[in-house]
């Protein structure tokens, strides 16, 4: 019998990455209906390479590299504005935290202590360092 090829838009490698994101975040990104509420309330969205809504849309199609390039996970401040307003109950901050974890778990740091100005090192409060290193170092 001739096997009918099934069209699978997500490459197996991307599928594995999506599974990791689902495992780390505990969220189902396919619940997203693309309403854009998360983007409209995100305080950091203007500095990201794409909106949080676009990021979820690309993730739904397995385009994880593009989302990482857009630095959404890196720039998210985990303020949970999106999470409390998502009509589909997705904790968007957890999704992007998982995206960030993928980078960190490759032993890549997203903050370099040597690049922080001396004035900031003396002036910034302890929680700024603890939070930054917790969120942005591997």
């Amino acid at each position: 019998m001739t096997q009918v090829p099934i069209f699978n838009p997500i490459a197996s490698q991307d599928k594995a990455t999506l599974e990791k994101i689902a495992l780390i975040s505990g969220q189902d990104i396919y619940q997203c209906m693309q309403c854009g509420t998360c983007s409209s309330v995100c305080p950091m969205v203007e500095t990201m390479g794409m909106t949080t809504r676009q990021g979820i849309h690309l993730l739904q199609f397995g385009k994880t590299a593009a989302v990482m390039d857009a630095r959404i996970g890196e720039l998210c401040a985990s303020c949970h504005s999106c999470m409390v307003r998502c009509p589909r109950g997705i904790d968007v901050a957890k999704v992007y935290d998982a995206v960030r974890q993928l980078t960190l778990r490759e032993n890549i740091n997203l903050i370099d202590l040597n690049e922080i100005p001396k004035e900031t090192l003396t002036d910034a409060p302890q929680i700024a360092f603890v939070s930054s290193f917790r969120k942005l170092t591997s």
Partner: protein, 294 residues
Amino acid sequence: MKLAYYPGCTLKTKARNLEDSALAALKALSIEVKELDRWNCCGAVFSLADDDLIHHIAPVRNLIRAQEEGCEGILTLCSQCYNTLARAHNLMIDDEEKRDTINRFMDEEPDYKGEVQVIHYLTYLRDHVGWDALREKVKTPLRDLRVAPFYGCSLLRPDDVAIEKDPTILEEFLSALGAQTVSLTEARECCGSYQSLANPDAEQQRLGKIFGAVNRSGANAIALSCPMCEYNLGRQQHQLLEQNANLTATPTYYFTQLLAVALGIEAGVCHFDLNGKPAFELLKEKSYIVSAAS
């Protein structure tokens, strides 16, 4: 209710103005609190990764310390400490599997029973002192101060740890001190938090929006409760103003500093030097300041 006071890492150094003013105000209100023995840093941010339990150890250990001391509540001042401890407490109640793993991992510690309530100073004031009683204790009403209350994110989100669902607590508190409050569109939004270290340009963009709103509101002061917000809105403000000539400087205060001033506590306790010169000068200009010599 027996309470343990949890200061957290920043309050002993960079945010002494928050701790000392808060403790002096409690004393003036005849409330005694004892600092938690052997407390450790809470980790500042709650771990969001489902498979990462190790970062819940720090906040849970603090809850265990309070439990050991027979406390029913743990009192916090820093918004991020409040958020991290309250969420860790909720996790230990809601997720049986994670609770068991965490308790087993800390086998040298007694199990956390989930009975220590995490309370923020503001809610404690509201529930155990009350706004009317506080109003009566005010010696120097802050009448000419138009204050923008800035909640930030950690006191309000997620919903299960929100100090109030649709918050008016800071407004009510400031009204009790005799201050005027202004409506601030950015009051419940994030200040950019830890991004100020890794991504200062993104942070400055965020601050530009907040200060635009502050200036439009007509406020001449900002009240907040988080050392991260204070650093971004207060100590980083000069950088923003250097780049944006259309924005006006607005001093930031921890809400407890305004409380201490209104209660007539000597200004030295408030360490206004940590807020920057304009913060002290504004209060002095309004004749609110009581100095040790007077």
